[in-house]
């Protein structure tokens, strides 16, 4: 099993969610994060220009079976891309075990 962590634009979240649902990835968690990166957001407040490097993004975590990894990654990238600086990053790591608390099922059976 693999864990996919993706940091994406908030504005692309609905597209990503829909795309993941369409390939039967129905369960994942997400939360809002703030980070710093290459993107600078220009602001003007009362005539004074300032830029903030605090960038709001959405962080989502999906755990999938090994054979499903590539399809999920492709779907994520296709639905989250705009081509502009700041589209985000994806990290993939190995997951030792998954257990569904209610039934005690483990492994891939606990994923869906």
């Amino acid at each position: 099993m693999k864990k996919i962590e993706a940091i994406i634009r908030k504005s692309k979240f609905d597209d990503v969610k829909k795309a993941l649902h369409s390939i039967q990835v129905n369960f994942f968690s997400y939360w809002d994060v703030t980070g710093v990166g290459n993107e600078k957001q220009g602001h003007v407040y009362r005539g004074i220009e300032y830029s903030t490097s605090d960038i709001p993004r959405r962080y989502l975590v999906v755990v999938v079976s090994d054979h499903f990894l590539e399809k999920t990654l492709n779907t994520l990238i296709e639905s989250a891309i705009t081509g502009e600086v700041g589209d985000g990053k994806i990290f993939v790591s190995h997951v030792e075990q998954t257990i569904r608390i209610r039934t005690g099922e483990s492994g891939s059976a606990a994923l869906n």
Binding site: H43, V44, Y45, R46, G47, I48, E49, Y50
Partner: protein, 417 residues
């Protein structure tokens, strides 16, 4: 006088009193919205303090100082507290406009607004004890004495006699007597305090410190506009149909034009549609028309408003360049537009002319000098008693925690700045 007319006049004046009271909500929201969330309790506390303290001080000494009856034109005192005259509840008290009680409360609500203006400008760094003592002293001494010079029948109201004319200074509802009185004090205390930490970098470049709740600030501005119907409408001092309706029209048109002036100038100058400048422009238009709301035609009120709105944006930049830090733009709105509106009475409207412009200028200078002198003295006094500014640590972590031991958004904190 017809008793029904007396009753109608008095009801209108009480409605206006309530509207001026409502302006304190507007000021509270505007100031809270344009400052940072770590200082919200402090701002709200100051605003509540001013309405309560201002009214009580006006009861104890203010009303007596401001309306001393026959006096030398510079300073007089009718006595402590309220002492209702025999005709105080009859039509003969104020040409049938209102009763003595209405008179006191309407004027008392005005007094408190002058100190509220200071609160926003000195926000996020003044010690609460110092602010409380300063505003009580200022409201007890400066506001009512300056008020007596014009509205109490003092020397400014008949200044034309010194030049062999019959006219005098004209300030219908207080561009100078209320707004610039607050504005001058704001300027002096801001100079004594110095800028907030982080407002200017080591090279002296101005930094933006955005307010934390723009919807709240916008609500405040619209409430202030509503309150101004009472501020200016009540300054007619009766419910005269012709004059009250004209005043409401000039007031609203100037507010609208002020908003336009500010957002057009700021969008050209800074290339963004800054809603906080739009807000200040509306308030600038309101302050600007206040001196001559009874004298202007609709078109003239629009011109006054447009210039007020443009002036606000330019003044905010000037104040920044002078290394003065006014988080809410109170000096630009109340001082600059207060002075402009007062002078505008000599330029536009029924009284326009060189003589009137001279009287208006004398009023601006005399009142400005008196306000600055006493604001400076009181500022020095509170500084030597308590220190005027909070510690660096307190300022950085927030006045709410250190001055008040409270958090404005205890379970609703998304960001720590």
């Amino acid at each position: 006088m017809d008793n029904a007319l007396f009753t109608a006049n008095n009801v209108w004046m009480m409605v206006c009193t309530a509207l001026v009271f409502f302006m304190h909500l507007g000021f509270s929201l505007l100031e809270a919205g344009l400052t940072r969330q770590k200082n919200t309790i402090n701002i709200l506390f100051k605003n509540l303090f001013i309405i309560c303290g201002g009214l009580l001080v006006y009861y104890v000494v203010g009303f007596g100082l401001m309306y001393p009856g026959d006096f030398n034109g510079f300073i007089g005192f009718a006595g402590l507290g309220l002492d209702i005259p025999e005709n105080g509840l009859t039509a003969s008290y104020a040409s049938g406009g209102y009763t003595y009680w209405t008179d006191f409360l309407f004027q008392g609500m005005f007094a408190a607004t002058a100190a509220t203006i200071v609160s926003g400008a000195v926000a996020e760094r003044i010690k609460i004890h110092s602010f409380m003592l300063f505003s009580i002293l200022y409201l007890a001494v400066v506001y009512p004495i300056v008020g007596s010079w014009q509205w109490g029948g003092g020397f400014l109201s008949t200044i034309g006699e010194s030049f062999g004319n019959s006219g005098g200074f004209h300030d219908f509802a207080g561009s100078t007597l209320v707004h610039s009185v607050g504005g001058w004090a704001a300027l002096i205390v801001v100079m004594l305090l110095g800028p907030r930490i982080g407002k200017f970098d080591t090279n002296g470049k101005s930094k933006a410190i955005p307010g934390h709740n723009i919807p709240i600030a916008t609500t405040g501005v619209l409430i202030l506009w509503l309150g101004w119907f009472g501020f200016n409408g009540g300054s007619v001092l009766n419910a005269d149909p012709a004059l009250t309706s004209l005043v409401l029209v000039t007031t609203s048109l100037s507010a609208a034009a002020g908003g336009f002036g500010a957002f057009i100038v700021s969008s050209i100058k800074f290339r963004n549609f800054d809603v906080t400048m739009f807000m200040n422009g509306i308030l600038g238009g309101l302050v600007g028309i206040t001196a001559g709301a009874d004298l202007m035609s609709p078109l003239e009120s629009i011109l006054i408003g447009l210039i007020s709105g443009a002036l606000v944006v330019i003044a905010v930049s000037w104040i920044d360049r002078l290394k003065l830090d006014d988080p809410v733009g109170a000096i630009a709105v109340h001082l600059f537009c207060g002075v402009w509106g007062t002078l505008a009475v000599g330029i536009f409207g029924d009284k326009a002319g060189w003589d009137q412009l001279l009287y208006q200028s004398i009023g601006v200078v005399a009142i400005g000098a008196f306000c600055c002198l006493f604001a400076f003295l009181f500022g020095i006094l509170v500084n030597s008693l308590f220190g005027i500014r909070v510690s660096k640590r307190e300022e950085v972590e927030g006045l709410d925690i250190y001055e008040h031991g409270m958090d404005a958004y205890a379970d609703f904190r998304t960001n720590d700045h």
